[in-house]
């Protein structure tokens, strides 16, 4: 049994552990202990703890890991727990840096102090590879590991370190995921100067080198690039049909360079007209179908703002296109246009040659403004949130501090907007058109959330991947600009946590409908971690065109390969397929929560105390076991005796089953 438990190989060196799948650990190798750091793992190596370690390890590419976990604990727990797939302790004890396939050590610096915000100074060895920073405490008794991937670094700063001698330099890594790390190192110990080295490695695109994703050479049994096939997805929705066609008009990205090559547009419009519409829409992002209701044929259509301008320009073709979109849905004689922006902003945009559809030019159109602020406001809000959460949390004024970040308020606006759209579509049977300014930020948030509410397919593990691939990646959410992969310019005003906000909204929904989603919180956190990590090609670059040009699918791996190779870890054991159910989240601040297990996870005080999942899984095992025994007994009973009522057939047992997924 022991050899099947990765942690159980603890004692015998870094040899290949038989159970570790070859693709086991792209995020981080070493991991037996876990947690926010410090001696905490010594605390109580319970089963729950291991489970939590596992969660944390998988969830955080770069976490502060510590603690030798007694090797016997593995065997003790293994009866309750699925195996840890993520590396083994062994390497940690050998002071070896776990390396991913394709990863190379760049330098090793001894005598480095990690200035831990929670526990003070830690003395250790810092290793820099082309993917990560890896810090190990020297003292063996209370190990401490800090594993930070370079992609997550937003900026590097030299800081002054008082009282540590003349030759000591300080370094602060400000990260994109709500934390900062400070190190102090001695110049004579460092063969190279650390700062330029790190700068070069962390911001490869600013130094004309390539992202690590192009060097990563893991082999996964599942190919995540095959998750999303636009034609298959549209076919699932029942497209093309008599009103909608799959158009090749953008197959070479000539019409719109930020749109995907496959678009669904109304049948009754010529390519010429489409081109004229493109000229009238910002960035040529014409109204195209995102989702169609299987029964009412009401659609979600996304686009960018019309270029109305100060002189209230009109475009016949655009007006006609919207009319066709409305006519394609026989159930309603209205078309609801949702402008994500604040009304006042939409009006000011007219001066900048933008604007919104005028109800007088577009007949039967109702305009709704969702009053969602722009990307800069969101960026500022999350920055404030970091101040509240890291490194210390003010107990007394916690709630008001959260209020002042307005983060939840914006989450609320987005969720409420998406719920309004979903309601319009479901109850009002009306097609909706969504846009903001360019149609790649708030629009993506709104359409994907509305689709998540409306279509249960997107609430599955695979379906959600399709949703992200479709609404975000293929439709040109500018991931490279918003995240700033490998880019030195941390102050770039293009950066904004729009995708984080979207995942937060999804998390809020999973909280309100805990059984309606097939994926779990770990999945959401993993997605967000790899948004920054640059380990996978999934979120790289701004548009499908760029990704095709850089041959991303051929040269890099997909995040979904990693996830779908071990789906059980990311699956909600209590998923119930609420098919054909529209989920309307309660959008009141009273029913929203701060996602502290993501935002505040670096704080060791936030350690989750009891993993409920463990218990839930145990019930599932119990059920499976009982089911097996019932069948066994029934078989025995029916073979030995002819009994009255109980053994009619094994089928009632199955019929009695609740519709719970135990697996994907």
């Amino acid at each position: 049994m022991e050899k099947q438990h990765p942690a159980a190989v603890g004692g015998d060196g870094p040899g290949p552990s038989s159970s570790r799948k070859p693709w086991g650990s792209p995020s981080c190798g070493p991991s037996g202990g876990g947690g926010g750091g410090g001696s905490e793992t010594l605390d109580s190596p319970t089963g729950s703890h291991v489970e939590w370690c596992k969660q944390l390890i998988a969830a955080t590419i770069c976490s502060q890991i510590s603690g030798p976990v007694p090797s016997d604990m593995a065997s003790r727990d293994s009866k309750n727990l699925p195996g840890l797939r993520f590396g083994s302790n062994a390497k940690m004890f050998q002071n070896k840096v776990p390396l991913l396939p394709g990863e190379n050590i760049q330098t090793t610096v001894k005598d480095v102090m990690y200035i831990c915000p929670f526990s003070g100074l830690v003395n250790g060895v810092l290793t820099v590879t082309d993917y990560k920073l890896y810090f190990v405490r020297v003292e063996r008794e209370s190990p401490f590991i800090l594993d930070v991937n370079l992609g997550v670094i937003s900026r590097l700063e030299k800081i002054s370190v008082p009282n540590q001698g003349e030759n000591t330099r300080g370094l602060e890594l400000v990260c994109k995921d709500m934390r900062s790390h400070r190190f102090a190192y001695k110049t004579e110990e460092s063969p190279l100067d650390l700062v330029p080295l790190l700068t070069g490695l962390a911001f490869p695109l600013s130094h004309s080198t390539s992202l690590f994703a192009f060097q990563y050479k893991e082999v996964f049994p599942v190919d995540g690039w095959k998750v999303y096939d636009p034609l298959a997805e549209y076919k699932r929705q029942g497209l093309p049909n008599e009103s909608w066609t799959i158009s090749k008009v953008n197959s070479t990205y000539e019409l719109c360079d930020t749109y995907p090559s496959v678009l669904v547009i109304p049948t009754n419009i010529t390519d010429e007209d489409v081109k004229r519409v493109a000229a009238f829409r910002a960035k040529h992002r014409i109204p195209v179908l995102s989702w169609i209701h299987p029964e009412t044929q009401a659609t979600i259509v996304r686009c960018s703002q019309p270029l109305v301008g100060p002189s209230d320009r009109r475009c016949k073709e655009d007006e006609r296109l919207l009319q066709i979109i409305m006519d394609a849905n026989a159930q309603s004689h209205k078309l609801a246009i949702f402008d994500a922006r604040q009304c006042s902003v939409a009006i000011t945009n007219k001066a900048k040659d933008g604007g919104f559809e005028s109800e007088s030019f577009y007949p039967n159109v109702e305009m709704h403004f969702l009053e969602i602020p722009n990307i800069h406001v969101m960026r500022e809000s999350l920055r404030k949130m970091k101040d509240v959460l890291y490194p210390t949390i003010d107990e007394a004024h916690w709630h008001s501090a959260i209020d002042q970040t307005h983060w939840l308020e914006y989450i609320l606006l987005i969720l409420a907007g998406a719920a309004r759209m979903a309601d319009k579509l479901e109850s009002g049977k009306t097609s909706v058109v969504v846009h903001c300014s360019d149609g790649w930020d708030r629009t993506a948030q709104l359409t994907s959330l509305a689709m998540l509410m409306l279509d249960s397919h997107y609430r599955t593990l695979r379906g959600f991947q399709v949703l992200v691939e479709k609404e975000w990646i293929s439709f040109g959410h500018k991931f490279a600009a918003r995240v700033g992969h490998g880019d030195e310019n941390h102050a770039n005003s293009e950066r904004s946590p729009l995708f984080v906000q979207f995942i937060d909204c999804v998390w809020q929904m999973t909280r309100q409908f805990p059984a309606a989603f097939e994926f779990n919180e770990l999945f959401l956190i993993t997605v967000l971690d790899h948004l920054y990590s640059c380990l996978f090609g999934t979120f790289l670059y701004n548009s499908e065109q760029e990704r095709t040009a850089k041959e991303v699918p051929a040269e890099t791996l997909s995040l979904w390969s990693y996830i779908n190779s071990q789906p059980e870890d990311f699956t909600n054991p209590f998923y119930v397929d609420y098919e054909h159910h529209v989920l309307y989240p309660l959008v009141s601040p009273r029913h929203l929560e701060l996602w502290s297990s993501y935002y505040a996870r670096w704080n060791p005080r936030m350690r989750p105390q009891v993993p409920v999942h463990q218990n839930l899984k145990e019930i599932l095992v119990l059920r499976a076991e009982l089911q097996r025994r019932v069948e066994e007994l029934q078989r025995e009973a029916s073979s030995s005796h002819s009994l009255s009522s109980s053994h009619s057939s094994p089928s009632p047992t199955h019929a009695a089953g609740t519709p719970l997924h135990t697996v994907v």
């Binding site: 709630h399 095992v621 119990l622 019932v630 009973a637 019929a655």
Partner: protein, 833 residues
């Protein structure tokens, strides 16, 4: 929907005036309690009825609306869903149905008209026909009924007026008439007087109860003293108190005078590592004392420990009752909104407003204090004495929280009930004044107990799998506090309860009349039953609701009835270096050896004290104690990288390792299921998809139960057919296991003799059965599922739990053991049925 003709017929029938109907109901209909589909209590009469009413369901109930008939009796507002099963006349009466509200819990009645909202008082008259009726309850429920256009206007108006007139406005005396309405009938009294107490919980009332508790905790060296049997020594203490064995009653008697209200140090609980938890009131100053008094006091205080005593001062760091009352008031108005106008706090200020109620702050400080005490108790062989001025408020909170944290038994439903009996009801928490049902002294009102429930919920929220009791149980208890029907909450101390018991005639008005108090004093009914204790849940809730009081799956470490200090496996470091007889004061997180802890020392008799206790050496113990406290600080902030791990717990599954909650801002949750049940601010789009967390789990649990029953059925049906391995094995292990799990209800709320067990015996029932009963629509269970499950059935297990067959086998054994324990019981019940 009811058919039109029938409805109107019944409506006409309802029209005769109230008095007449009362007579007819209480007279001839007394036996058949089914009135228009409403199952009445004996003597209960329907005052008003409205048909075609829809009740708004909360998110927990599945949202959406439920249509049915609304009733107002002189005891409750009842709602009967239209397709609810016909009530069974032979079943025991249940005070409140799942959709009912007792009139006494209603705080305000608000109606919503076409475009306005009006608060309805007994004297108000309406100028419009309400469309919605909203009942704001004291227990923070908000119940909303929507009248259909087809509901006759007269019914709507009459219903509104009737409720407004009959609900109990908070004034003295109203409680009595309410109690009479509920329990006053002859049948009800008879029924109550025949009711047996739950023998599975410890009531902490008799000598044997206390001895049982001592035995359970393995507390040797203590005895039950009946020195206060007639409440002569202390009026507020229970009749029996637990004191050190070596202290004689005569010695004990001299100590009472030195404590506020005579509340001397008494034993509460023993930690399995051997430390004792005591509680006491503050010292009485300026009282003449004798040499012996000091010695006696020390004996009492040190209990059977020889080494260390830590006095934990509860006054300063914890909220006062007045603080709690203020905070709770703010929380109420925040969560319910401004009742008359239905305007709530602006959205962007919600969290700030929540913070400014300070409710969560107070919960945090209680938990913090309890964590400190729990950590102290971890060190073995010391006495921790909680001291509070009166010893009747925060010491109840802290001592019981400590036990919830440390003792898995207290996290079971029965154990928790026993705990509340021990630390609150008999210990003399002034429920009567604090809950203030009678409205006779508003200054004393303070929901200390509700704060405690909130703290327990915080623990439950952070350690969901360590509790056997559930959120539903806490909610039920929370709501029951607001019902002035239970003896547990209607007296300030044991003495008052006993008094009421003896001459209950005085405190009761007799039966025959709702609000008819004519005979109340003149002819007291001699056989007036006592008010029931709150723990008689069957009286309050349906079987179905009660089933949800406990978790379907046992918390990981099974409860062990006998501790006997045998967990004290680590040769503790504190005992060795401890000097016998040192007293420390813990206040604000620091220890001190106060010079004047005992107020009368310092003058004459102090020399005795000093001599016997070598105080000079005692300060050496401070580091040891601080280390204990630090252990807590470490788990909260686990970053003391250099700290040694010597004081670490022993095993991973030490069930007595205290549950130490995290107390930072993000970790303190709001008990939404309780405070935000009203959820009137919920958005307009309501859709019948359950947001109920436990729901799928519950269903799964039911399924597991079902399978177990089925298994039992099969094995019971084949007693002589040979699957000996399967049948014999459980029997054998049964005897062993019964020793460990002394109450069989631990694993599952198992032996439900009737109720769900009935249909379960039939092999046919499917999950849809449960769904209709649980509220959420059956649509959530697509019937196509079985096929899918069949397909994936074989490889399911291996998928979820890794690919190790070896481990799987071990799991099999693991579970086989637990389920075996249940087998004989299950089979017994199924055979009986």
């Amino acid at each position: 929907m009811l058919t039109g003709s029938k409805t109107t017929f019944k409506v006409r029938q309802m029209l005769p005036d109230i008095k007449e109907r009362m007579l007819s109901q209480s007279g001839m209909n007394a036996r058949s309690r089914d009135v228009f589909g409403l199952r009445c209590l004996p003597g209960e009469c329907v005052l008003q009825r409205a048909v075609m009413v829809r009740k708004k369901l909360s998110a927990r109930e599945g949202r959406g609306w439920l249509s049915g008939t609304l009733f107002c009796t002189h005891f409750r507002v009842a709602f009967v869903p239209q397709d609810s099963p016909k009530p069974d006349d032979n079943a025991d009466p249940v005070l409140l149905g799942d959709h009912d509200v007792a009139l006494a819990s209603i705080e305000k009645v608000v109606v919503v008209g076409p475009n306005r909202t009006k608060l309805v008082t007994p004297n108000s008259s309406l100028k419009f026909t309400p469309e919605e009726l909203v009942l704001y309850c004291r227990d923070m429920r908000v119940i909303c009924f929507l009248f259909d256009r087809l509901t006759p206007d007269t019914q709507v108006l009459e219903m509104t007026y009737t409720i407004a007139k009959t609900y109990q406005p908070p004034k003295p005396g109203s409680v009595l008439s309410f109690q009479n309405a509920a329990l006053g009938s002859v049948e009800m009294k008879q029924f109550l007087s025949n009711r047996r107490r739950d023998s599975h919980m410890n009531w902490c009332e008799s000598v044997s109860d206390w001895e049982q508790e001592l035995e359970r905790c393995g507390a040797s060296g203590w005895r039950v003293s009946s020195v206060n049997d007639r409440f002569e020594m202390s009026t507020s203490l229970p009749r029996f108190i637990v004191v050190p064995q070596k202290v004689l009653d005569t010695e004990l008697k001299k100590s009472f005078a030195h404590f506020n209200e005579g509340r001397i140090p008494r034993w509460c609980w023993r930690h399995p590592r051997g430390s004792d938890l005591l509680r006491m009131a503050s010292f009485q100053n300026n009282i003449y004392y004798e040499k012996d008094d000091v010695r006696n006091l020390e004996m009492v205080l040190f209990g059977c420990q020889s080494s260390l005593c830590v006095v934990v001062e509860l006054g300063e760091e914890l909220p006062s009752p007045a603080d709690i009352q203020l905070a709770h008031g703010r929380l109420r108005s925040l969560c319910l909104g401004d009742i008359s106008t239905s305007v709530s706090v602006p959205d962007d200020k919600w969290l700030s407003s929540l913070e400014s109620t300070r409710w969560l702050d107070y919960a945090r400080s209680c938990l913090k204090k309890a964590s400190e005490v729990a950590c102290l108790l971890r060190g073995s062989h010391l006495t921790v004495a909680l001291q509070e001025a009166e010893d009747r408020d925060m010491s109840c909170v802290v001592s019981s929280l400590v036990q919830v944290m440390c003792d898995p038994h207290c996290r079971t439903q029965r154990g928790f009930q026993g705990l509340v009996q021990k630390e609150w009801v008999t210990a003399g928490h002034r429920f009567y004044s604090r809950v203030n049902h009678h409205r006779d002294n508003d200054k004393e009102e303070a929901p200390v107990f509700l704060l405690f429930l909130d703290c327990v919920w915080q623990l439950l929220y952070q350690f969901p799998s360590r509790f056997q009791l559930t959120n539903d149980f806490l909610l039920a208890l929370h709501d029951s506090v607001h019902l002035p029907l239970f003896s547990s909450f209607l007296a300030n101390c044991q003495r008052e309860r006993c008094k009421r018991h003896q001459n209950s005639g005085q405190s009761y008005t007799p039966v025959n009349g709702w609000r008819d108090t004519l005979h109340s004093d003149s002819s007291p009914d001699p056989c007036d039953p006592p008010l029931p204790p709150v723990w008689d849940w069957a009286l309050q809730y349906s079987q179905q609701r009660r089933d949800a009081f406990t978790q379907p799956v046992p918390p990981l470490p099974p409860a062990q009835p006998l501790l006997n200090g045998n967990l004290n496996t680590n040769p503790d470091s504190h005992r060795s270096d401890a000097v016998p007889g040192s007293v420390f004061l813990l206040s604000r997180g620091t220890f001190s050896c106060p010079a004047n802890l005992l107020p009368w020392r310092g003058s004459g008799g102090s020399s005795v004290y000093k001599k016997s206790h070598r105080r000079a050496a005692s300060s050496e113990n401070v580091p040891g104690l601080e280390r204990l406290l630090k252990a807590w600080a470490l788990t909260e902030l686990p970053c003391g990288l250099g700290s040694s791990s010597s004081s670490r717990p022993q095993g991973p599954l030490d069930p007595y390792e205290p549950l130490l909650p995290l107390l930072t801002g993000p970790c303190m949750g709001l008990w939404r299921e309780c405070y935000l049940r009203g959820a009137l601010h919920a958005q307009a789009f309501s859709h019948p998809v359950s947001a109920n967390h436990a729901h799928p789990v519950e269903r799964l649990a039911r399924e597991v139960q079902q399978l177990k029953d089925k298994l039992a059925q099969v094995s019971a049906g084949t007693p002589h057919s040979p699957p000996p391995a399967k049948v014999a094995e459980p029997r054998r292990s049964d005897t062993n296991l019964n020793q460990n799990t002394n109450n069989g209800t631990f694993l599952f709320p198992a032996q439900r003799p009737q109720g769900p067990a009935g249909p379960r015996a039939v092999p046919a029932p499917t999950s849809t059965n449960h769904q209709t009963s649980r509220g959420p629509p059956p649509s959530s269970a697509p019937p196509t599922r079985p096929a899918h499950r069949d397909a994936g059935g074989s490889n399911k297990q291996s998928f979820l739990f890794g690919d190790l067959s070896a481990r799987e086998q071990q799991q099999v054994h693991y579970y086989a053991a637990t389920s075996n324990a249940k087998l004989p019981k299950g089979s017994g019940s199924s055979m009986a049925s």
